[in-house]
Amino acid sequence: MDAAPSPEGELTVEIWRGGADGRFRTYRVPRRRNQTVLDAVTYVQRHIDPSLAYRFACRVGVCGSCAMTVNGAPRWTCRTRVERVARRGRVRVAPLRNLPIIRDLAVDMTPFFDKWARAKGHFVPSAAGTQGFAEVAPDSPERRAADAGVECIGCGICYAVCDVVAWNPDYVGPAALNRAWTLVNDVRDGDRAGHLAAAAAGAGCHACHSHQSCAEYCPTGLNPTASIAGLKRMAFVAALKGAP
């Protein structure tokens, strides 16, 4: 990090403190060149209030653990420069929406990952898989469909920005459905119909309103709406064929 203070002087950072009934508290942080929102939050914790709870690990946009709400929009704070989001020298940092707040900027990701399990977001080995390497043509339609969604790192940005999750807490959400779509298209998987049935059940893929906020905000550039539309299409065809 460049330690030289920039000419702008100070940044006003409003940070959510406490649980669901908490409030914003204001801190003053010196501006730095190329400063990220995560840098500012870290400054507050290291120099002003060590009791501030927040989460980060890699600092370079690989792990996804530093996702927070910055000026109302969910972002990876490590990849968000202060100069891009500050309005009149102010930045407001809150925990991710749609998830229970543990404390300050740290949210409980349990519901998010429970829903991955509900959408059957785990690979099911097939008997054929034990008999040697599966040959998967990289340019086959299924592999292309799976590849398009496979880079998800589970940061929860899409889940936080999704209004359907906010309106219907039972909705499994974009990330879990995107994961299900990659498995439905994985020819090595032993239960592709099971993944589809799990993704279509209850408040699954059919609950999506195609707002496309997930695609708009995914920091990895994935398009969960496209995956969900694929699941809807495939579930419709399966239903026509009499799938349970």
Binding site: G72, V161, D163, H209, S210, H211, S213, A226, A229, R233
Partner: protein, 115 residues
């Protein structure tokens, strides 16, 4: 926590809002429309008075608004059907723009014939 328009300010979300609002407005309009049509049987003279009133420029302008809503709702519905039943297309925002352009064009065509 306050909910702001912030992260919703993108074309697909506006298309959703327009589709929902136009759908609700048309659902409210339809019973009135059917009531007025029913006057043709119940009270023809009253219907004629009402139709004379609808010739006013303000009513014509409001009608143009309704036509735009109807065209927008139809275009939005076709877009959603294509999104859900056809293979994914990367040009979603272009489709939204085409739908909006179609709705405005239909409204202008209505206004050309209205006066």
């Amino acid at each position: 926590m306050t909910v702001t328009i912030g992260p919703r300010n993108h074309p697909a979300y506006w298309a959703f809002v327009l589709h929902r609002v136009s759908g609700l407005a048309l659902a409210l309009f339809l019973p009135v429309h059917l009531y007025v049509l029913a006057l043709a049987i119940d009270d023809a003279a009253r219907l004629d008075r009402f139709l004379a009133w609808t010739e006013g420029p303000l009513v014509k302008a409001a009608e143009a608004g309704l036509v735009v809503l109807l065209a927008a709702h139809m275009a939005g519905g076709l877009r959603l059907l294509a999104l859900e039943f056809l293979p994914w297309h990367e040009g979603q925002k272009a489709r939204i723009a085409i739908g909006a352009g179609f709705a405005v064009a239909v409204g202008l065509a209505f206004l050309l014939n209205a006066f």
